[in-house]
Every structure is written in structure tokens, then in C-alpha cells.
């Protein structure tokens, strides 16, 4: 299959970028990233500058890959990361636009790579249970109902890719923050630091200049792990709880 691509090229975070057209011959069995590998191999053979993009596991779990494909983070297939998109999703002769995540808090590093370290800084501000190695009680000492464990897992499944931010018109990170806050607020282990965690993580999120949620729901639509918008409702409740208890 023959494809016409428009790819965002940007030398570094200081210089402006632009869309550059490329043509590539692909195969319908290729993954989207393999299609870019083929293009890059051609560019290298021609002595041209290949296109940088983040990727690693290529099986949808590490959260590194991050492309906006025809305006949609992670492309056309629901609940699927960029690396798991295959070219059979596109018709022969398709014209495809490929851009990086777009958000003030995610500066472009080069071409399609962005800096998502803001997400790590939010986790550092309380996205954990403070338990020293060796200080744990017996694992079965705290029973957790099957349904509660399953629900906590649904939120804990977040891969930290940042697609929620890229999809949001406000570049809000509330689905990401809400997922971690909800995961730990649902579990007995997370209770002691529950309110402090919510308020600290929200403060860290604001300090990184992410926007607020105004209920567009784009984040849930693009989330490769189908994390529910309920996480944001829960985050708001946890924040109110912190305010009410004077811990905010």
C-alpha cells in the first residue's frame, strides 16, 4: 500500500516545527511504528534526517509511544496504543498526519518526542503508600473484596502515556491524577494518606500548568486502557474531602 504522510518535524524544543510531506510504501501487516521504521530506513539510505519518536515495548504496556494520528492521540482504534495500530486500519493511498502530543506541560524534545516528566513529578508528590521495605504486614491480614480489588485495578492499569492530556482541549491531566488517587483511595492500604495525597497531587498538577477538566470526555475516549471518566469525579470528591477536613 502507498501512503502519503505529513509528519511534524522539529529540531528541538527551542526551534519552531512544521509538517513535512513524505511518501512511503507499506504493507498492511505492518504495525504503524514499523511503517515509520521503513520510512526511516529509506531516509537513512538517502542520507536524510530520520524522524525521532518515542517507543519501547511495542506491545501496548510501557506507555512510551505517543503519536497524534490524524488528530487523535493513539490513532483510529479504541483502547489501543499507537504501537498496536496496524496499517490494515488504513485504506491504500491514505493520507495520514502524524504529530506529537500537544500540551504546554509536554514540551517537544525532537520531532514526535515530548517531555512527560511532569507526570513523574505529580506521582512523586504523594502517588504512593508510605511503607518502608520490610515494614509490611502479612499480605492476607487485610482482606480486600474481589470487586474492590478489580475496581482498584481498573484505575491502576494507567500506563502514564499522557494521551488523556494530549486529547483534552484544556490539556488537563485530571484523568491521569484521578486514576492514581482513585486506585489508592479504594484500597485499605491507601486510607491513612488519602486526603493529603489528593491535595498534594492536585497542587503538583496545577504547578505543572496542566489545565482543569471541563467535562469534554476526550480523555476517556482515547485512553488505551479505557480508564473511566469516573476517575475525575472521584478526584473531585477526594479534593472536597481534603478541603472539608482542612487538609488542603
Amino acid at each position: 500500500m502507498r501512503l502519503q504522510l505529513h509528519i511534524w518535524r522539529q529540531k528541538n524544543s527551542r526551534e519552531p516545527g512544521r509538517l513535512v510531506p513524505y511518501a512511503v510504501q507499506a504493507d498492511e501487516h505492518m504495525s504503524f511504528l514499523e511503517m515509520l521504521d521503513v520510512l526511516n530506513a529509506e531516509l537513512i539510505r538517502k542520507g536524510e534526517d530520520p524522524i525521532a519518536f518515542d517507543h519501547d515495548c511495542r506491545e501496548g504496556i510501557c506507555g512510551a509511544c505517543s503519536l497524534v494520528i490524524d488528530g487523535v492521540p493513539h490513532g483510529p482504534r479504541a483502547a489501543t496504543t499507537t504501537c498496536q495500530i496496524h496499517m490494515r486500519e488504513f485504506p491504500d493511498g491514505a493520507e495520514i498526519t502524524i504529530e506529537p502530543w500537544r500540551a504546554y506541560a509536554f514540551p517537544v524534545v525532537k520531532d514526535l518526542m515530548v517531555d512527560r516528566s511532569a507526570l513523574d513529578r505529580i506521582i512523586a508528590a504523594g502517588g504512593y503508600v508510605s511503607v518502608r521495605t520490610g515494614a509490611a504486614p502479612d499480605a492476607n491480614a487485610i482482606p480486600i473484596g474481589k470487586n474492590t480489588a478489580e475496581k482498584a485495578f481498573d484505575y491502576a492499569a494507567c500506563i502514564g502515556c499522557g494521551a488523556c492530556v494530549a486529547a483534552c482541549p484544556n490539556a488537563s491531566a485530571m484523568l491521569f491524577v484521578g486514576a492514581k488517587v482513585s486506585h489508592l483511595a479504594l484500597l485499605p492500604q491507601g486510607q491513612v494518606e488519602r486526603t493529603a495525597r489528593a491535595s498534594r497531587m492536585i497542587a503538583a498538577m496545577d504547578a505543572e500548568s496542566f489545565g482543569g477538566c471541563s467535562n469534554h470526555g476526550e480523555c476517556e475516549a482515547v485512553c488505551p486502557k479505557s480508564i473511566s471518566l469516573d476517575a475525575i469525579a472521584k478526584l473531585n470528591r477526594e479534593f472536597m474531602r481534603a478541603v472539608a477536613t482542612g487538609e488542603s
Binding site: 530506513a41 519501547d56 515495548c57 480489588a149
Partner: protein, 642 residues
């Protein structure tokens, strides 16, 4: 090279307790004066960095990814073993120890494996306390599943994403210590080399993958947690950036490399669909419980659609060759059987490079017998994943599967304290060689990575610091500038390459050599061919390769080129080791040593040892050393699946 494993004396059950008491401690007030470098942020690295920081050490942690949470441990699916005996099915620390030693085909140290089994129970407690959402029963207690190589249910799991949840737990502990100012996290930094001062590991040299800057870091000890080297085969289930560079540079600086030929091949992966293939994806081997493996019986049927091959013309080779175990033979046996039918020309699916390397895993009989719903309840997520990648529904068309490289049991040699032959250099997780012998059991990799990081290194590193470590100094020592200079020169050499061939292409060629001659089946002739082909390819790298861009910017092609240069040297060491080990054991199958039925034949007389290689420079053959393995508590037996 001295190989003193420092195994404690006394009965097996008491060794670790006794050893912990004998280890020298570092005064709590003095711990903050010691700086420790941890390289890698997977299960071993994150758990070690967090635990050391909690003790009070001053930690610098490095990873090549843009976040420590993306280390390849994240991709582990199945679970983590622990001898909790929650199922009341007769499990015990002794049984987990025995299963692991036997599963490793009697090529691991008894004392290490016993310690691993002892610690396994504490790991589960720690992870649960962090909030890891393990699967639960309705009463709220932890659930278990069974796994290969064991007759008890001791595997704890979090859906098919256990590695992800355990890594996020360790990552949360790490980020807590970042928040406390006790760990400085350096993302997108790649270790290029180790710095020795007076023979001790006292720092590393890294490339900042954003700016290209090559810089030195000094410390009082170095902890390497950089994973395995499966990507020497180019195609593997490893993440694309996984590499051998950090471990190999330590080998070049004098660390012994143990059993490099021990590689694990996983039987059920999604096969290659074209020459452009960039990696392989594993499908849980639990699928073999309900799928039947077959290929066309005769060559003239090859290339037909599966629906056009009548039942009588289907060759259910596992069921026919292994009537009692059938489709459930162990990983290595299933893998080799698939290779054999494909080598005989009976493979199915898409021909890549003239070969059809795939077999069918057919669920039609199970769907007829149990109904589509039951199969969907068991495997829906796996079937969906397969369909996304292969573009076919396993409910309608048989899955195509083929074995793929998955894990490497070999690694840097370490003693009981996890210290390499270089004083101060400690090696954890898949990067070391300990515990799994010649074959790793399922759900044991996560156990080992976390055992090393949470519960072994935090004790043993103090012993090094208080008994062997000497002198305080920083990067002003001339040894640092010298290594920086060498690495800058290497970078310039790579960027000056004038060829036209992408490095990826050369890496792929290396992978084919390794897969053909040092893969699932190995023999003397093939290994000698590889040992001729690898140096020749290594020479061609320097004339054919092209490395675009500069050294003062983000340059993924320069990073990859550096890793491939090391793979091109390391591949030779693997083949030398595979040739030297003239027996079959675990994942190392020497075709000269098999029973008439195709089973592996060990040679305990000649090879009941760890082979450790010492570098003698680029132009000389490595020196071979041996650590004999003694079994005082288990009897060496032949594994049988008939």
C-alpha cells in the same frame, strides 16, 4: 580471576540467617555519607534504589527511558511465585526451592535458590502493602493460579499485567524517595562505561540522551540492574531499547560473564509477518491448555488455507510424539518441536525470506466442546490482542504461533552477596546469572528481581562498604576523565561512519546468525559457522553502517549504533560459551546430545559448573574459569515428560 561465591557454611535452611548476622553493618548516621549509583529502574533497580534510600544511603538512579516506570519489567504478564502455601496444597519453601533447581536443570547454586524461595513470601507482603491490586477471592484473600514446572498453585497475579503492577509498586516507592530528596533520578541517561579506581567500581560514564553530553558520575558503589540481552537476536519479546551495553562494558572492565549461552525461548509468540518485523509479542502459554498444535502433514499441502486441509491431513505433532503430555509439554520441548516441523518445510502462514516459520494453535475443538463463551471467558484479552496484531480472529481461524527469545539466564557472575568479580560492582535481576540455572520457570523472574532489590542487596552492600571500600573521591580523579575521553572518541568514530546501511539492518543480520546457529537448537558445526560470520559482520559494520545526526542532540540512531557495536562483540562470547558447553541442559540444546526421542542429555561429569568468561582484550580469546556446582540437598535427576 578469583571465583569465591562466599557461600555460607551450615545447613541450607540456616545459611541466609547466619550470613545476615555475619554481614558487617554501616552505622545509621554514616549511611548518608555513602553515595550509591543504581543503573536501571526495572523491578530490581527501582526496588534497590528505593530500599537503599530508605536506609539512608544517598542514591543516584539512572534509566534510558523517559520515566523509570517504563522499564521492560512492565511487560511481564503471568505472575510472581511465592511459597505462601495459601492453597494448602503442600507448597513450602523447600518445594519452591526444589522446583526451581530442577526447572533450571541443575545448573544453579543451591544456596542462592533456597534464599530466593525464603524471601519470596516477604515480597508478596511488601507489594500488597504498597497497594498492588493482586487478584482476590470473594472472601477478600489473595488468589493463586498454577504455572508451568510446578504441581502446586503458588503464583500471585494481577490479571495479565502482573509485571506492570509490581513495577508501578516499586516505582511508587522510588518516587517517594525522590520526593524525600534521597534519590536523584536521571531519566534518558545511558550508561556507556564503568569507572574503576584502584580496582574498585567507583562510578560510571553516561550519555545524556537529550543533549548528547557524555559525563562522569562518582559513587562509593555501583549497582547494575540493566536486564537481559535477548535483543542480540534482534527479534525477541524484549523492548526495543533493551541491550547488553552496560553489562558488556563491565565485562570489558574485568567483570566475569557467566553462562552467556543460557537463553530461554518461549514457545507461544506471534510469528513474524514480514522482513520489516521489529519485535515479537508473547502470547501466554496458558493457551496450550485449550489449543491443539498442528501443521499440514505433507509438503504438497503447505500454503493452503487451514480450512482447506482435511482433518486426516493435519499433523498434530505434539500429540503424536508425546502422547502423555501432548500439547502441554514444557516450553523447551514445545519450542524445539515447532522448529523441527518448520525446518522440515511444513510451516504455515506468511512466508518471510522463503520460510514459513509458524504452526497452528487451533481452538476449534475446544469451542465445539465447551462453547464460545467458555473460551472467551478464559482467553478474551489474549484473543483480542492476537486479533489486533495478526488481523485474524482466533475464534474463526487457528492462531499462528512460533517460539521467540524471551529471557536470558546468563549474566554477570555474582557471589552470594550479588557482587561481581569487580569489588563494589553489584549486579541484580536478569543482568546477573544467579538463581535460574539453565532454564527459568514461569513467574520466577519477577520474584528474583524484587528479591535482589528489596531484600538481598540492602544488607550485602553495607558489608562491602564497611569491609572492602576505601577512600572518598569524586570525578576529579583522572580515571573518570580517561573513560569520558574514550567514550567521546567512540562516539566520534560512530558518527564518522560513511556507509549507507541503517544500523537496524546490520542488527537484523546479526540476529539471523544468532537465531540460526545459537538459537533453539545448537551444534558444533553451526556454532563454528557463527564464530566465523560474526567477526566478519563486525568488520562490515564499520564500512557499511550509517549513523545520521550529531552527538550534541537527541539521536536515537547513535544510541542504537553503540548498542549494536556491543552486541556484535557479545554475540561471539555467547557462541564461544555454547560451543564450550558440550552437553544439553535446560534452554541450551546441543543437538549432538539428545536421546533418540529428542530429549536433552546432560553431562554432569563434565559440565556441572558455571562457566565464567574473563575478557583478555579485543584481540585475544577470553579466558575460561569454572565455578563447580555442588548439590548437597537435591539429587541430580533427568527431567522426563513422557
Amino acid at each position: 580471576m578469583q571465583l569465591d561465591a562466599k557461600l555460607p557454611s551450615g545447613p541450607l535452611r540456616e545459611k541466609w540467617d547466619k550470613h545476615r548476622f555475619e554481614l558487617k553493618l554501616v552505622n545509621p548516621a554514616n549511611k548518608r555519607k555513602y553515595r550509591i549509583i543504581v543503573v536501571g529502574s526495572g523491578l530490581a533497580g527501582s526496588s534497590a534504589a528505593a530500599s537503599l534510600a530508605e536506609l539512608g544511603y544517598d542514591v543516584d538512579c539512572f534509566c534510558i527511558q523517559d520515566s523509570p516506570r517504563r522499564a521492560h519489567s512492565i511487560a511481564a504478564q503471568g505472575g510472581i511465585n511465592a511459597a505462601k502455601n495459601h492453597q494448602n496444597d503442600g507448597d513450602s519453601i523447600w518445594r519452591l526451592f526444589y522446583d526451581t533447581v530442577k526447572g533450571g536443570d541443575f545448573r544453579a547454586r543451591e544456596a542462592n535458590v533456597y534464599r530466593l524461595a525464603q524471601i519470596s513470601v516477604d515480597i508478596i507482603d511488601q507489594c500488597v502493602a504498597q497497594g498492588v491490586p493482586f487478584a482476590r477471592e470473594y472472601g477478600g484473600m489473595l488468589d493463586n493460579r498454577s504455572f508451568g514446572g510446578a504441581q502446586v498453585s503458588r503464583t500471585f497475579y494481577a490479571r495479565g499485567q502482573t509485571g506492570q503492577q509490581l513495577l508501578l509498586g516499586a516505582y511508587s516507592a522510588l518516587m517517594r524517595m525522590v520526593d524525600a530528596g534521597k534519590v536523584r533520578m536521571h531519566v534518558r541517561h545511558e550508561m556507556l562505561d564503568l569507572v574503576l579506581v584502584d580496582g574498585h567500581a567507583r562510578g560510571i560514564v553516561t550519555r545524556d540522551l537529550l543533549t548528547g553530553e557524555i559525563g562522569p558520575w562518582a559513587a562509593d558503589a555501583v549497582v547494575l540492574c540493566t536486564g537481559g540481552y535477548g535483543n542480540v537476536f534482534y527479534l525477541s519479546t524484549n523492548a526495543k531499547a533493551s541491550n547488553v551495553t552496560a553489562a558488556f562494558r563491565c565485562y570489558k572492565r574485568g567483570a566475569g560473564f557467566a553462562n552467556p549461552c543460557f537463553t530461554q525461548i518461549h514457545p507461544t509468540c506471534i510469528p513474524q509477518s514480514g522482513n520489516y518485523q521489529s519485535k515479537l509479542t508473547l502470547m501466554s502459554e496458558s493457551l496450550r491448555n485449550d489449543g491443539r498444535v498442528w501443521v499440514p502433514r505433507r509438503l504438497e499441502l503447505v500454503g493452503r488455507k487451514p480450512s482447506e486441509i482435511p482433518e486426516t491431513d493435519r499433523y498434530y505433532y505434539l500429540e503424536e510424539r508425546y502422547p502423555s503430555f501432548g500439547n502441554l509439554v514444557p516450553r523447551d520441548v514445545a519450542s524445539r518441536a515447532a522448529k523441527k516441523v518448520c525446518d522440515d518445510g511444513l510451516g504455515v502462514g506468511i512466508a518471510v525470506g522463503g520460510r514459513r516459520n509458524a504452526v497452528y494453535l487451533d481452538f476449534a475443538d475446544s469451542i465445539t466442546r465447551l462453547g464460545r463463551k467458555v473460551i472467551s471467558d478464559r482467553y478474551a484479552n489474549l484473543f483480542d490482542m492476537y486479533e489486533r496484531i495478526a488481523g485474524e480472529s482466533p475464534y474463526e481461524v487457528p492462531m499462528r504461533i512460533y517460539p521467540a527469545v524471551h529471557y536470558t539466564m546468563g549474566g554477570l557472575w555474582v557471589d552470594y552477596n550479588l557482587m561481581s568479580t569487580i569489588p563494589g560492582l553489584h549486579v541484580l535481576g536478569e543482568a546477573n546469572f544467579s538463581d535460574h540455572g539453565a532454564n527459568r520457570l514461569g513467574a520466577s523472574a519477577l520474584m528474583q528481581g524484587l528479591a535482589d532489590g528489596y531484600f538481598v542487596l540492602p544488607y550485602t552492600i553495607g558489608h562491602y562498604l564497611s569491609t572492602m571500600h576505601k577512600g572518598k573521591f569524586g570525578v576529579e580523579r583522572p580515571e573518570f576523565a580517561e573513560v569520558v575521553r574514550q567514550q567521546q572518541a567512540q562516539t566520534r568514530r560512530l558518527l564518522a561512519l560513511k556507509g549507507q546501511r541503517p544500523v537496524d539492518d546490520i542488527h537484523r543480520e546479526l540476529g539471523r546468525i544468532m537465531w540460526d546457529y545459537c538459537g533453539m537448537g545448537r551444534n558444533g558445526d553451526g556454532l563454528r559457522k557463527a564464530l566465523a560470520a560474526i567477526p566478519e559482520l563486525r568488520e562490515r559494520f564499520w564500512t557499511e553502517a550509517s549513523v545520521p545526526g550529531s552527538g550534541e542532540e537527541t539521536n536515537p540512531w547513535l544510541e542504537h549504533a553503540g548498542r549494536v557495536v556491543d552486541f556484535l562483540q557479545f554475540a561471539e562470547l555467547m557462541c564461544i560459551d555454547a560451543l564450550e558447553r558440550d552437553e544439553s541442559c535446560g534452554g541450551h540444546f546441543r543437538e549432538e546430545h539428545q536421546t533418540p526421542e529428542g530429549e536433552a542429555v546432560r553431562d554432569d561429569e563434565r559440565f556441572c559448573h558455571v562457566t565464567v568468561w574473563e575478557d583478555r582484550g579485543d584481540d585475544a580469546a577470553p579466558a575460561q574459569h569454572r565455578e563447580p556446582l555442588t548439590f548437597e540437598n537435591v539429587k541430580l535427576a533427568t527431567r522426563s515428560y513422557k
